[in-house]
Amino acid sequence: MKPKVLVLKADGINRDEEMAYAFKIAGGDPKIVHVNELRNGRERLSNYNILALPGGFAYGDDIVSGKILAIELISFLGNEMKKFIKREDTAIIGVCNGFQVLVRTGLLPFRKIGQMQVTLTNNDSGHFECRWVNLKVEKSKCKFSEGLIGSKIFYPIAHGEGKFITDAETLKEIEDQGLVVFRYSDEKGNPTMEYPKNPNGALNSIAGICDVSGRILGLMPHPECFVRKEQHPNFRRGKVKVDGLPLIENIIKFVKGAK
């Protein structure tokens, strides 16, 4: 059976269709579900294996990015989410706006709903950026990076509030526990603070993190927008490796294996 994927929709979420497409070709059974349908009980998180929070501008990213949706999830779906993450056969991925929502719910990095410990704030450049970046895949607790660890991958980014920051203590804990999954890097795969290779000035070049279970992943770059060769801006210049699909496939593989 194909694992069921709930692609969460809310006002202003706009990368839901490509997220659903990526999960579909990776072997999942995705459905785009509006948050109102979860609130009114017509849909239940418990019927799914994977929760995917796509990119966009949920509620206009008013106040700060992802905030309003995070509050909505905490207020109305807190218990359901707690149950969901307890199950061993589930996974959560939040990309871009979805990542912003995950840190603001407190699910990342320490699975404490309602307690926010890291943030994603305004890019150092002061504006939205749309470009491609290199990422180094770190050895981490993440359950979805099999086969990618140590490699350099290439993903598009498109955000204005992607700078990862936290206090020194939390940062140390994140690093020590192996929760950093992706770092912005140069062409050789070395983590970098140099703009625009690190497009937002993220602390320790952090582009993506997971929780301690390794089943919740959040990242600013868009793996779901690099699941076919032609999405690479230079596929005409020679062979390209489609870097986004393996990550999505790993999520599917993981929840299948965990059953």
Binding site: K9, D11, G12, N14, R15, E17, E18, Y21, I25, H34, N36, E37, G55, G56, F57, Y59, G60, D61, D62, I63, V64, K67, I68, I71, E72, S75, F76, R104, M116, Q117, V118, T119, T121, N122, S125, H127, F128, E129, C130, R131, W132, P156, A158, I165, T166, D167, H222, E224, C225, V227, R228, E230, Q231, P233, N234, F235, R236, R237
Partner: protein, 880 residues
């Protein structure tokens, strides 16, 4: 009672202020901690300053602040009910630009944030007894109608034996405005003494001869062309010049929002898949004293317009992946802001259903406020010094999220076959949308039902308001419940305003009061048909075309090259493009920039709107205000050729393209009408030569400025030609970056020598065919069309992408030649070039080389890196 929460973010020079009405300090503290402030990098205070700020800037009461709805929603999710709220900013330094049309400096604490107001009265305008002078006084600054038109209205009401209401008069003015009525395009013309058919008729007649790919043309909010597998693709391009001239951020936003609604209001609703933006401004270094009174400086305009497009398009999740910026000093009073949108639609939904008796007229989306009143009539009038003061209500700030959720709802409703038709509430608001769809049957609506942003609007204001993010939907009554459920899911408001009643009248009530009882026939056909005269005026050409001296040595060549490459029309626009989300939807298979360092510009984006299919569409455009100004016929042909060349350069077959034409002109006096006539003739000749149709378009004929001292500034006439076309396989396309070292560089196409290059329309199809064949058969490695900046600029840009150099031979006078319809092409070797291009004129220029130098034998040799710096610098300075 208002609680004032201030939030400071580390490293930011502004402080966010939230005013929360109707809650206690304790509740404000909960909101501060859970919603408004994040401990990690922010701190807050309640009802006391954080630091001493210089001043606070807020939106004026009544200007919609998009954040408000989110704050109210999130507070409610946290169990706290706000009566009202607002957000604003405190600034710590003085370097702040304030737009006084939408913002103000807060000096006094507001007592309440609720906007009250008494319902406005309905006024009767005693038009029947007016003399000509009073008729014109009633029209001025408000209705923008001519005396002849005012007289026609007078006569109608004399025959009705009553005077009109304010709403009726406003409705007529809006319907008959140039913006909605396209009076000039429908007028009979007398050009240099010879009678000619109306412009629109000529365009339509020619277009419909080439209908192979047409699904719908000239009859809907966008033109639809055939795509694959039962789908159509559609395109619409609009201008938003008048609002952008006085409030560029809001103007650009509402421009984007409006053109997206045109796509969404095509047939029973199309999905937006791409957006384009094209701007014309005065040169950025325009001396301050040359800026006319009441006008904003070009650098400010450019920056604000870009942010408007960015903030709206990005939030909508519609990729912005094509555009251009042009400069000419005659845009100093009125810029041209051109926004395009493209969509996909199943062909079975591509046509509007015919309304039936009893069908419901429904308003969906945002609420109605006082914003944007008189937008349609205002944009049809000339701009004067008074414009910025008198017409400030025509300006509004968009709320993209409101539009996004409405579109999501409409597409779901469409796919459940619930919708008869969708109509955009654009210029002219309800008046335009409902007046138009009701033409055949007649309608009765009660506008008291329309949900308002705040109380106190007069009926005519509700009726004319151009508040954004609203649409009119026509439904069979039996579908109402299902439609409401879908809208509820997406948090979109639905209101039934009225129905089709078969009266052949426009019956509008406000509760029980009748505010309009106009005959549809008079409304839509009572406008006196115009006969307009056009005459050629022989002017002494300005100095735009001095023939420059040929550089004499390496140093002079290098310096002139840098100058050309750093010119606003030619320089790299990458810093702008990177502000726009062009990757959203995951559809872009040929991106705006490619090459080794992803900084080589491409001619057009290639999109795969259905991710699991390999076919796609290409979007491109062309315009040249400078050439158009000198020679409206050949300048227009140039624009058409440039647009189509951009499509062909990436791999398009011109036979599968459709055109969208936009005429952005000075007010059509005899001289400007003469050039407009020439331009339309050019477009018709172009359609004929290439056997492809124009399927949509728009005119904007008001770009003249009149200063109080008698100063008149007309913009250069602009024909903006856009192309949408389909291709079978998105992988059979090429980018512009050089791919190999020692490969052969070919210049293909017929080059013309004159000041305005006269594109040879007999040769061009052959050139196009040769390139298409070469790309389809993988013989062409890279291709770039020659346009502004000429041959050498195209070659240089290909070097940037390829991170390499070239060694070429080129005659002196061809270095900067700008003939549209000529291309630089990279092929493996000379033999292939000779075989491929036997039916089209070509010259072998030379070869690519590893050394990053542009070397033209016998003339010059310049480092690519040096030129690249000059080429990238101008926009980097502004946007990085």
């Amino acid at each position: 009672m208002i609680q004032k929460v201030r939030v400071q973010t580390a490293g930011m020079s502004t402080i966010k202020v939230y005013r929360l009405e109707g809650i206690s300090v304790k509740e404000a503290k909960v909101l501060a901690e859970k919603l408004l402030c994040e401990e990690i990098n922010q701190k807050y205070t309640i009802n006391k300053p954080i630091v001493s700020a210089v001043f606070e800037i807020a939106y004026k009461p009544g200007v919609m602040n998009p954040e408000v709805a989110s704050i109210i929603k999130a507070s409610e999710d946290l169990g706290i009910k706000l009566l009202a709220c607002d957000s604003s900013k405190e600034y710590l330094d003085k370097k702040v630009s304030l737009n006084f049309l939408t913002e103000y400096i807060v000096k006094e604490e507001p007592v309440t944030l609720l906007i009250g107001g008494k319902e406005g009265k309905i006024q009767i305008i005693p038009i029947r007894n007016m003399v000509d002078g009073s008729l014109m006084e009633a029209s001025k600054d408000k209705l923008f109608l001519s005396l002849e038109e005012m007289r026609a209205i007078q006569k109608y009401f004399q025959s009705m034996d009553r005077d009109p209401t304010d709403l009726e008069l406003e409705t007529l003015a809006q319907t008959w405005s140039e913006h909605s009525g396209h009076k000039t395009f429908k007028a009979k013309l007398i050009v240099d003494g010879i009678e000619k058919k109306p412009l629109i008729e000529r365009i339509k007649n020619e277009a419909l001869k080439h209908s192979k790919n047409i699904v719908s043309a000239f009859e809907d909010n966008s033109g639809v062309m055939d795509f694959y597998d039962g789908f159509g693709i559609c395109g619409k391009v609009e201008t938003h010049n008048a609002p952008s001239a006085i409030e560029p951020y809001g103007g650009a936003m509402t421009g984007s929002g409006g053109v997206f609604r045109d796509i969404a209001a095509t047939g029973q609703g199309a999905k937006n898949i791409a957006s384009t933006d094209i701007f014309c401004f005065a040169p950025l270094d325009l001396p301050e004293e040359k800026l006319p009174k009441g006008c904003l400086p070009p650098e400010y305009l450019l920056k604000k317009v870009v942010s408007g497009v960015r903030d709206y398009g990005n939030r909508m999740g519609i990729p912005t992946n094509n555009g251009s910026v042009h400069f000419h000093q005659d845009f100093r009073a009125k810029p041209s802001v051109i926004v395009g949108a493209y969509g996909i639609i199943p062909k079975k939904y591509a046509k509007k259903g015919r309304p039936k008796l009893g069908d419901l007229i429904i308003c969906v989306g945002g609420r109605t406020g006082r914003d944007g009143i008189h937008g349609a009539t205002f944009s049809s009038g000339e701009m004067t010094e008074r414009t910025i003061e008198v017409n400030s209500s025509a300006v509004q700030i968009g709320n993209a999220i409101e539009e996004k959720r409405m579109f999501d709802a409409l597409l779901e409703a469409r796919d459940k076959d619930l919708i008869r038709m969708v109509q955009d509430c654009g210029g002219g608001g309800f008046s335009s949308a409902i007046g138009e769809i009701g033409e055949d049957l007649g309608v009765s609506v009660d506008i008291k039902k329309a949900p308002l942003k705040y109380q106190g609007l007069s009926p005519w204001e509700i009726w004319m308001s151009e508040s954004q993010e609203r649409m009119i939907v026509v439904l069979d009554p039996k579908n109402l419940k299902s439609f409401e459920n879908i809208c509820k899911k997406y948090n979109t408001e639905v209101t039934v305003l009225g129905k089709f009643d078969g009266s052949k009248k426009l019956k509008v009530t406000f509760g029980k009061k009748i505010v309009s009882d106009l005959d549809m026939k008079f409304l839509h056909h009572g406008l006196p048909k115009r006969v307009l005269k056009a005459k050629r005026e022989f002017r002494v050409q300005n100095s735009e075309f001095r023939i420059p001296e040929t550089p004499k040595n390496q140093k002079e060549w290098a310096s002139i090259l840098e100058k050309v490459l750093s010119h606003g029309n030619v320089c790299s626009k990458e810093p702008i493009v990177r502000l726009y989300d062009h990757s959203v939807q995951g559809t872009c298979d040929l991106q705006p920039y490619s090459g080794k360092n992803l900084d080589g510009p491409n001619d057009s984006p290639v999109l795969r709107p259905l991710l699991d299919k390999k076919y796609g569409l290409v979007i491109s455009h062309g315009l040249n205000p400078v050439f158009n100004n000198v020679d409206p016929y050949w300048g227009s042909i140039w624009a058409c050729a440039e647009a189509l060349s951009n499509f062909v350069a990436v791999g398009g077959d011109y036979k599968n393209a459709a055109l969208v034409n936009n005429y952005i002109w000075p007010f059509p006096d005899e001289e400007s009408l003469w050039s407009l006539d020439k331009s339309v003739t050019a477009v018709c000749d172009f359609m004929k030569a290439f056997k492809i149709p124009v399927i949509s378009g728009k005119d904007s004929l008001s770009s003249t400025y009149r200063g109080v001292d008698g100063q008149v500034i007309k913009i250069p006439p602009v024909l903006c030609m856009s192309v949408l076309g389909k291709i079978k396989d998105t992988t059979k396309t090429v980018t512009s970056d050089f791919k190999k070292i020692d490969s052969t560089i070919v210049l293909i196409g017929k080059m013309e020598g004159s000041n305005v290059p006269k594109v040879d329309m007999k040769i061009l199809p052959k050139t196009f065919d040769a390139i298409y064949y070469g790309i389809q058969n993988n013989k062409i490695l890279s291709c770039h069309d020659v346009s502004e900046g000429g041959v050498i600029s195209a070659v240089f840009e290909m070097c940037v992408g390829g991170s390499c150099g070239v060694k070429i031979s080129l005659e002196k006078d061809k270095v900067f030649n700008e003939t549209a319809g000529t291309f630089i092409v990279e092929v493996e070797n000379e033999k292939i070039a000779k075989k491929l291009f036997q039916n089209a004129p070509f010259i072998i220029l030379g070869e690519t080389q590893k050394e990053p130098v542009v070397k033209v034998e016998g003339l010059f040799s310049v480092d690519v890196s040096k030129l690249k710096k000059a080429w990238q610098e101008p926009m980097r300075r502004l946007f990085s």
